[in-house]
Every structure is written in C-alpha cells, then in structure tokens.
Symmetry: C2
Subunit: 364 residues, 2 copies
Amino acid sequence: MAASTLTEVARLAGVSPATASRVLNGSARTPGPDIAERVRKAADSLGYIPNAQAQGLAKSSSGLIGLIVHDIADPYFAAIARGVQAAARHQNKMVLLATTAGSPADERAAVAAFAARRADSIVIAGSRSARTADKQGNAELAAELDRYCRNGGRVGVVGHAVVGAESDEGYHVVGVPNEELAAELARELAASHAGEFVIIAGPEGLLTSDDRVRGFQRGLADAGLPPADVLHTGFDRTGGYEAGMELAARIGAHGGSGQAGAEAAAPPRLCIFAVNDVMAIGATAALRSKGLRIPRDAAIAGFDDIETLRDFRPALSTVRLPLEEIGRLAVPGAGSGTVGAGTVGVTGEVTLRRSTEPGGEPAS
Amino acid sequence: MAASTLTEVARLAGVSPATASRVLNGSARTPGPDIAERVRKAADSLGYIPNAQAQGLAKSSSGLIGLIVHDIADPYFAAIARGVQAAARHQNKMVLLATTAGSPADERAAVAAFAARRADSIVIAGSRSARTADKQGNAELAAELDRYCRNGGRVGVVGHAVVGAESDEGYHVVGVPNEELAAELARELAASHAGEFVIIAGPEGLLTSDDRVRGFQRGLADAGLPPADVLHTGFDRTGGYEAGMELAARIGAHGGSGQAGAEAAAPPRLCIFAVNDVMAIGATAALRSKGLRIPRDAAIAGFDDIETLRDFRPALSTVRLPLEEIGRLAVPGAGSGTVGAGTVGVTGEVTLRRSTEPGGEPAS
DNA sequence: CTGTTAGCGCCTTCAA
DNA sequence: TTGAAGGCGCTAACAG
C-alpha cells in the first residue's frame, strides 16, 4: 500500500491534479478559496505527502545539501556539521551525509552520489591532501566537482580551495587563517616560554596540518627563535598519543620527572604544539602515562578549541575556531551576502590557558 | 547545461535507452559484450551520472536512510551517527540527517520529510519524552511513524519503543538496558562507598534519564541503602554544571574543601551519579570552580563512556555503551539476522575509574 | 538479446 | 481561474 498521490487527492476533491498541485505546493496564490479548502481537506484526510522525488524530477532540484566529512564522530566535523545543518534548515533543505576518512577516491564517489541525487549544493569539509600518492585521486575529485559545478551545482569548501579545481564558477570557500593563527600562537607562546619547541603534526601533505606547522615556525622566527622539530604522525588522538610517547622519552632522558623543573628564569621545559586539540589530548595522555605532568614538565597547546574538551584539565591552550559558524558559512547561499562564488573568511582567537602557563607548578 | 541523460547515452551508443539502462544499472547480466562496451564508453565520454531521483521514482525506493538525532554535535549522537553511516554504506545507501533538539513536533516533521523523500528506512535516536506537555506531540509523531510503516517504511529506534506506536510492524528497536546497568553501577559504587548518594538527572519525563534514575535507586536499595536525592536539570553539560554548583554549596556547607575528608572508614563524602557523561563533566567543572576536588571531596560517575572524554582526569567512572554498534544495529536490515520487526539488545559495562575511587587522596 | 510501450508522481506550458 | 496535455529520466513489462 503505497502512499497516496496527488492524483488521488485531486479526484477526491473533485478537481484536476493541476489544481491540487497548485494549492498544495505551487507558490503562486492558491486558487478559489473554496476549492483550496476542499483540496486541503482531501489531502490530509488521505494523509497525503508529496513525493519529493517526483517533485525533484519535475523541477530538477532536490532540496538536498550534500555534506562530506572525514568522520562524523570527530568533534571537529561534528561541530561543522551542526552549522551546516542549521544553514540547511534555514533554506528548507535537508542534509545528506557522506564520510570518507579523507580518501580522495571516496570523496569523488560521494560527489558523484550527490550529483546523482541532484543535490542543490555540496559542502566539503576536512583537510585536502597534497601528497603525491593522492595526486591522481585529487585530480579526479577536482574533475568530478568541476563537472558538478558545470551542471549547475554549487560547492562550498572549508579551508582550502579544492586542489585542482578549474573554474572558480560555483565554488565558494570559507577561508580559515590557519597559518596566521598558528604564527600568532607561536609568538604568544614564545613571549612567555623559554624552553625548546616541538611540533606534533599530521601526515606530511595534509594541507591544514602543513599550514599550521608553517605558521608556527614563522611565528617562532618572528620571535627570533630557531625552527622547532616536527614529528609527523596521524592527525588524530592516536597519532598524538604516539608522538607523545616519543616526546616523553626525550623529556625523561633530560630528567623531567624530578620534582620541579628549575623554577629559575629559563627552565628547559619543552613546549609542544599539536596541530589540533584531539592530538594534543592524545599527547597529554601519553606524557601522563609516563608520569610527566602538564604544565610542570612540559607545556602543550592545540588548535580548534573543541567544545567537549573545554573542561579538560589542565585547560588546554589552543586557537579558538568558530566551527559551527564555519559550517554555516560553508553552505552556498547561506553566507553573509556573498551568493555564488567567492571566499568568506572567519577569524579565530589564540586562547592561552593553563596547559602552557609559564612556571608550571604542581597542579595542587 | 544539465547533466546528460540515459537517452543521450543510448543515442550516442546507437542503442535503445532500455539497453543502455540494462548495462549501466540493471543488475541482470550485461547484454552483448560488444554492446555493453559501446554503451559504457558512450556513458563516460558523456560523463553520464544516473539520476537517482528518476530511478527512485521508477523503482519506488530511494537508497536513503533517514537519521533523526537531537544534536549532531553531541558526542553521544555523533557516535551513533557513525554507526548508522557505516551500516548505510554497507547497504549502499546514503544517510539523510535531521536534528530536532528532541522536540516531538520537529521529529514528526522530520519523519514526514523522510517519507516525502521515500527513505527506505528511518532511524530515530535520542530519548523519547513522556512529559504530558509532549503528549500530543508524541501522539502525532507516533501517527506519522505508523503511517510511514504502513506505506512500507521500516523504522529503527534506539532505546525505547516509540511511545504511542501502534503496530509492531516495521518497527525495530535496539534495546539499551539503561535501568539494569544503572542498578549495577549503583551496587558497585555502594560496595566501596560509604557516603551519601545524589543523582543529577535530566528533565523529568525523559525516558532515558528516568530509566537510569530508577535503576540507580533500585541498585541502592539492593545494597540496603536509602534512595538518593534527585536533582532534575538539563540533559546536557550546562544542566550538569548548574546541578554541580548546587551540590558544591551543599558540600561546602558540610566543610568539604578542608584538607582531606577524614581518611577514616566512613567519610561523609558525597557520591554523585550524573545520568550521562557530559552532565558529569559539567558537574565536575562546577565543583572544581568552587575549589572542590574529585575524588577527594566528592565521587562522581557518569553514563555512556563518551570516547572524547576518556582522557579526562580524573578518569570518569561510567557505564560503557557500544554507541557505534548501537547505531549500526539500529538500521533496519543491518542487524544480526533480525530483518523486519523485532528487538535486538546490546550490553554495556560498568567501568569504575579514578573519579569514584574510595579514599580519594589529593591527586598529586 | 534487444527494442517498444507504458507508466512512476509531479509540475508546467497552453488552451479554455 | 481551472483543466488538459506533455515531459522530467528511468525502469519494467511485453513484444519481436
């Protein structure tokens, strides 16, 4: 027993399907007030629900917004998804979700699937990769997106422009000043911190990670400091943990665990910058498992200011990013004025907290 | 310039649309190998992408799975969403997302929207409410779901059966033994804890919250203890924080902040059970803001074992729930055998950690 | 094995 | 203002 159709409603109301369509959906003013009422009654007496597929076919537009993320359970993407969802709701559209773990091939497939569903626009979040291994994948992804745009689709990108994108037509990118913010973070840290700096980065080639690393190094240079060592690892909690274990060994070698690390002016305490909060938390866990304490034995900072992590102790120094707003802005047509192509930027804010406090006393 | 159609492909390949359809989509074995090749070439020379809307219209099935959550940025729902996504992928379907903040009216609307899109099945996560204020909303939601089922849709529910659901036809619920697990948690806590118990609960009427409260009280009774006080508040971090502030006042009045709370056998230390992890974290933050320490001045436990919170210190005692699996199982047709209606259950595990350790020493 | 003929449910000209 | 006809793109019965 399939759902009832417009035709059935029309018949019950004693009018033509066209008329019924007009009162139930068509935006032009409803025909004869008497007729309208009759149709409406018929409609909900039958529990009529318009078939969006048919509507979409007829009008060639679907009311769908495709969203591509690496992993919806990652709080970074979840926050962005919330923003996208809000914007979609504002446009009376629904969001279609695809997760890809960052694989360009999967992303290409997702774009194709969205195109097949005739999504009105698609939002692609998550760092692009510039690794040579992904080169072909990226090219294919770009081609797929270009085709989608050429067919009238609009795409919103978070962070960077799509790697090989051709026309700017239809693309809409939300720029995140990763490099600038990382530089600022480095400068502020350098001002109050005398020890050595280390960076826990994602895989080489991950644009977001690379940008943050570059920015941080630049900031150190601005402060007259030498570049920091860079540890490349996974862009997630586990990666942070592994790097943390390695650093714990280094610190241990220098005799970190001992009571207090020289209260003097220049303690040799390490200052760690993890390119995102989740990695920072992983690193912290690793250090702790080795008996090291933050900020006493090492300072640590992250990036993103993930909401769920705000109650973490010691409070994590980080760079606040307006994740939800980023999601909202990434939806084409939802931004502040800028309708079609173009770039809108957001700003973040360096937020220094306990985890990088200078003379890290025992937390008691 | 719209995307190219099957007809165009067929023409280019010099065959009928039906044939083209057969090679490109129809599962029956591809016709003449030569023809097939010709069609395929034509297809991707044109960059053909099948129109899923048209396919759906023709076959009346859409390859869509609707997912309803309160808030996609809530780690609880995000984890479930990941599971749903995985199951969807397994079925070659895509997931449509709707967020409702728990409002029955919005949920009803979401179900209608999914029905309009002819979603093959819909998964509804998040606690149902039994408040009288929501009574009508619930009834309408149930009606909408029933109608959806009657039209051949299948719905998966996380936690409880839908409140007013009529036929069991098409419903598929993933049972979570909230009450039993909460009881077990209470018993284990009671065994090692001598102080008073308090519960930070969600709004009265929220089924999940109510179940956990009931279970916890039962567990206390099993241990021969009197029922705990119950504070009703928001089912989120803020709710937990507010309740935490109130409790901090109580504890303070009893002189909690003082160094050590009696190392003796029966310290009057409060043991707090927050009905979910996020609330527990909020409460912890509140206590800390008042100078109280966990587990020294109060013990605290949560529920869910949210992944992002596992590195929290002091490690939070909680009940581990296989959130991702729950999401996976909630998708109709993805479960272990059980195809249509029915109930599958999952189990959780009481996980005691530092936050409820008996003689809470200063964390140093 | 391939082509032809009908719809799927709706919207949109075009007449009336 | 309302009804009739055609088509959106594809698939599913039938013929051939």
